[in-house]
C-alpha cells in the first residue's frame, strides 16, 4: 500500500510536465477563472490567481520531494559524522560534543529555523536544504554514537583488533557498516519529517519563495482565502499527508527488517 503510494508520488513528480493539465504558473483569466471550485476542467479547482491547483500540486511535488530527500540525506551524513567522531574520540572531546548536542536538542527546532531563516532574510532552495539539514541531525548523531560505542566492545571488533588489523581499517570496515542501520531508518523517517517542515516554513513565508510552487507555498496561497477557497489548501495538504505517511510507513518497515525481534533498539 505505502509502496504503491510512494511510487505514484515519485512518478508524478518525475513526469510532472507530462501529467499536469496546465502550466502551473499560468494565470489564464483572473476575473472569470479565479477561485473556481473543483470541476471537470479543474479537478482540484483554481487559486485566487486563476492558476490550476492540480498542475501546481503535481509540479510542487518535484520541489517538496527533492528538498525532503536531499535534506534527509545531508542531515543523516552530518549526524553520522558527528556521532562517529564523538564515539571514536572519547574522553573530554566526547563529553563536550555531547553537552553541545544536549543544548542543540533543547532549542525547539522550529524556533531555531525561524531564527536562522528570518535573520538571514530570503533563502534560496539550496540554502533552505542546508538549513533544514543543519537543524535535523541531532538525534541521528546520538543513535550513531551509541551504536558505535556498543559495537566497539563487540567480540568481532575486539577480535579484529587482536589480529592486528590497523585501527583505521577496523573502524571503516568493521564498525561503521554495522552502525548504519539506525541511520537508514532515521533518514527515511526524516524524509517524512522534512516534507512537513518544508510545508510549515513555506506556509509561514520563510521557505520556498513564490512563484516557485512547492506544496508549502500552495498552502500559503490558500491560507489567505480559506473561507472562500478551501480546496487550494486542502489538496496540497492531502498530497503532503500521503507522501509523509508513505515515507513513515517505509521507515517502519525498514526498522522491522533490520530488527526482526521488534526490540526497537534502532530508533
Amino acid at each position: 500500500m505505502s509502496a504503491a503510494v510512494l511510487v505514484v508520488i515519485v512518478l508524478a513528480a518525475l513526469l510532472a510536465p507530462l501529467l499536469a493539465p496546465y502550466d502551473p504558473s499560468a494565470q489564464p483569466d483572473i476575473v472569470a477563472l479565479a477561485q473556481r471550485p473543483p470541476s471537470g476542467a479543474h479537478p482540484f479547482g483554481t487559486d485566487p490567481l486563476s492558476r490550476d491547483v492540480l498542475s501546481r500540486v503535481v509540479h510542487g511535488g518535484r520541489i517538496s520531494i527533492s528538498i525532503a530527500l536531499l535534506a534527509a540525506l545531508l542531515s543523516a551524513s552530518i549526524g553520522t559524522a558527528y556521532g562517529a567522531v564523538a564515539a571514536f574520540a572519547g574522553g573530554v572531546t566526547d563529553a563536550v560534543m555531547m553537552r553541545v548536542l544536549d543544548a542543540l536538542i533543547a532549542i525547539p527546532r522550529l524556533l531555531l529555523l525561524l531564527l536562522v531563516v528570518a535573520l538571514w532574510g530570503a533563502v534560496s532552495v539550496p540554502t533552505l536544504i542546508v538549513i533544514i539539514a543543519a537543524t535535523g541531525w541531532f538525534t541521528t548523531s546520538r543513535l550513531v554514537r551509541a551504536r558505535v560505542l556498543a559495537l566497539s566492545r563487540d567480540d568481532f571488533v575486539v577480535a579484529a583488533d587482536a589480529l592486528g588489523v590497523p585501527r583505521r581499517r577496523v573502524l571503516w570496515r568493521h564498525v561503521m557498516p554495522n552502525a548504519l542501520s539506525p541511520v537508514i531508518v532515521a533518514a527515511t523517517l526524516g524524509v517524512a519529517n522534512v516534507i512537513a517542515l518544508e510545508a510549515t516554513l513555506s506556509y509561514l513565508g520563510l521557505g520556498v519563495r513564490p512563484p516557485s510552487a512547492s506544496w508549502g507555498t500552495i498552502l500559503q496561497d490558500g491560507g489567505d482565502c480559506m473561507a472562500a477557497c478551501w480546496w487550494v489548501t486542502a489538496f496540497p495538504g492531502i498530497a503532503i499527508v500521503a507522501a509523509a505517511t508513505a515515507f513513515n510507513a517505509l521507515g517502519d518497515s525498514v526498522r522491522d527488517a533490520f530488527d526482526p525481534r521488534g526490540e526497537h533498539v534502532v530508533a
Binding site: 553537552r99 553541545v100 544536549d102 543544548a103 542543540l104 536538542i105 533543547a106 532549542i107 525547539p108 527546532r109 522550529l110 524556533l111 531555531l112 525561524l114 531564527l115 536562522v116 528570518a118 535573520l119 538571514w120 532574510g121 517524512a192 512537513a196 510545508a199 510549515t200 506556509y203 509561514l204 498552502l219 490558500g222 491560507g223 480559506m226 473561507a227 478551501w230 489548501t233 486542502a234 495538504g237 503532503i240 499527508v241 509523509a244 505517511t245 513513515n248 510507513a249 517502519d252 521488534g262 526497537h264
Partner: protein, 323 residues
C-alpha cells in the same frame, strides 16, 4: 534519588547556559541589527543611528555585550524589547501563562488519548481494531500541524460554525459573562488549538505505548498473573500498563521541544497570545533581546520538563531510583 536530582539539575543548568551562547552567537552573526530593521528608524540619519547604537550598547565588542547581557539576565533583567516598546520581562510575563496553559492542556489530552488507544489496541493485538487504529495513527502522526489546524478551522469554525476561529476568549462579551459562561468561553476557544497540537502527539504516544505494552505482555510475570487467574482486564491495566508507562513518560519529555515548536505554530494560526506569537513577531522585527529571551525560556521549559519526566519515570520504576 537526591544525587540523581542534583546531577540532572547541574546538567540542565549547563544546557541552558550553552543555549544562551548558541542563540546569542546566531543572532549576532546575522547581517543587520534592530536599528537597521526597525520601521520607525528608516528616516533616521546615519549619525542618529550611530547615537542609538551607542545608547543601546550595540557598538561594543560582542564578548562585552554578551557579558553584560548574562549579568543582567542573572539578575532577572531581560533587557528592553525594541519592537514591543516595553521591558522583555513584561512582554513575557503576559505570554508565558498562555503558552503553558495551551501546552499543559495538550500534554494531558495527548497522553490520555494516546494511552487509551494503545490499551484498546494491545487488548486484542493484530485484530481488526488494532490494524485500523494502527493505520489511522500513522496518518495522524504524518499530518503537518499547520495543515491540521487550517482544516479544523475550515470544518469546525467556518463550515459548521460551532467553535471560534481565534483568540483565547471572546474579545467583546467575555467580561460580561458569568463565571460558568467565562469557563465555557475559555474551553470553546481552547478546543481547536489543543486538538491541533495534541492529535499528532497522541498518535506518537499511542504508537510507542502499544509496542511497550506488547513487550511487557510477553514477559514471564504476566504469564504468572494469568496462570493464577487474574482477570484479563486487571492484567492489562494493573500489571502491564503500570510497567509500560515509564518509557512513555520519557517519550513525552523528549517530545517537549517538538511540542513547543508546535505551540509556536498553533499560536500563529489561532492568534493565541503566547510565547510563540511573541517569538515569531520578535524574529521578523529582529528584536534581539526578546528573541534570545524566548529561546532561553523555551529551552528552560524543555529542560525542566525533561527533569520532571525523569523524576516521574523514576517514581514509576523503583529500580531506577537507586542508580
Amino acid at each position: 534519588m537526591r544525587r540523581l536530582l542534583a546531577a540532572r539539575v547541574a546538567q540542565g543548568a549547563l544546557v541552558v547556559a550553552l543555549v544562551a551562547v548558541i542563540t546569542f552567537v546566531l543572532v549576532h552573526l546575522a547581517p543587520g541589527d534592530p536599528i537597521d530593521r526597525s520601521l520607525e528608524t528608516s528616516l533616521l540619519s546615519p549619525e542618529a543611528r550611530a547615537t542609538l547604537r551607542r545608547a543601546y550598547g550595540l557598538d561594543r565588542p560582542l564578548a562585552e555585550q554578551f557579558a553584560r547581557w548574562i549579568a543582567n539576565f542573572a539578575r532577572g533583567d531581560f533587557g528592553w524589547s525594541f519592537s514591543q516598546h516595553r521591558p522583555v520581562r513584561s512582554a513575557l510575563a503576559s505570554a508565558i501563562p498562555n503558552t503553558l496553559f495551551l501546552m499543559g492542556a495538550a500534554i494531558v489530552a495527548s497522553f490520555a488519548l494516546g494511552v487509551a488507544v494503545a490499551v484498546l489496541q494491545a487488548a486484542r493485538p493484530r485484530r481488526a481494531l488494532d490494524r485500523v487504529a494502527g493505520g489511522t495513527l500513522l496518518v495522524l502522526y504524518s499530518i503537518p500541524t499547520v495543515w491540521l489546524g487550517l482544516m479544523l478551522i475550515v470544518v469546525f469554525a467556518q463550515t459548521l460554525g460551532v467553535l471560534p476561529v481565534s483568540g483565547i476568549v471572546d474579545p467583546v462579551l467575555h467580561p460580561y459573562m458569568s463565571l460558568w459562561g467565562r469557563t465555557l468561553d475559555r474551553l470553546r476557544h481552547l478546543a481547536l488549538p489543543v486538538a491541533t497540537l495534541a492529535l499528532g502527539t497522541a498518535a506518537s504516544v499511542a504508537r510507542y505505548q502499544r509496542s511497550a505494552l506488547l513487550d511487557v505482555l510477553a514477559e514471564d510475570f504476566i504469564r504468572t498473573a494469568r496462570a493464577k487467574g487474574v482477570r484479563a482486564r486487571a492484567v492489562l491495566l494493573g500489571h502491564a500498563l503500570r510497567n509500560a508507562l515509564a518509557p512513555t513518560i520519557t517519550l513525552l519529555g523528549l517530545a517537549l521541544p517538538a511540542l513547543f515548536g508546535g505551540a509556536v505554530l498553533v499560536e500563529t494560526i489561532f492568534a493565541w497570545p503566547g510565547m510563540g506569537l511573541l517569538a515569531t513577531s520578535a524574529v521578523s522585527a529582529r528584536d534581539y533581546p526578546l528573541v534570545i529571551a524566548c529561546a532561553m525560556i523555551g529551552a528552560t521549559m524543555v529542560v525542566v520538563g525533561n527533569l520532571v519526566a525523569d523524576l516521574l519515570t523514576a517514581a514509576a520504576n523503583p529500580r531506577l531510583r537507586s542508580s
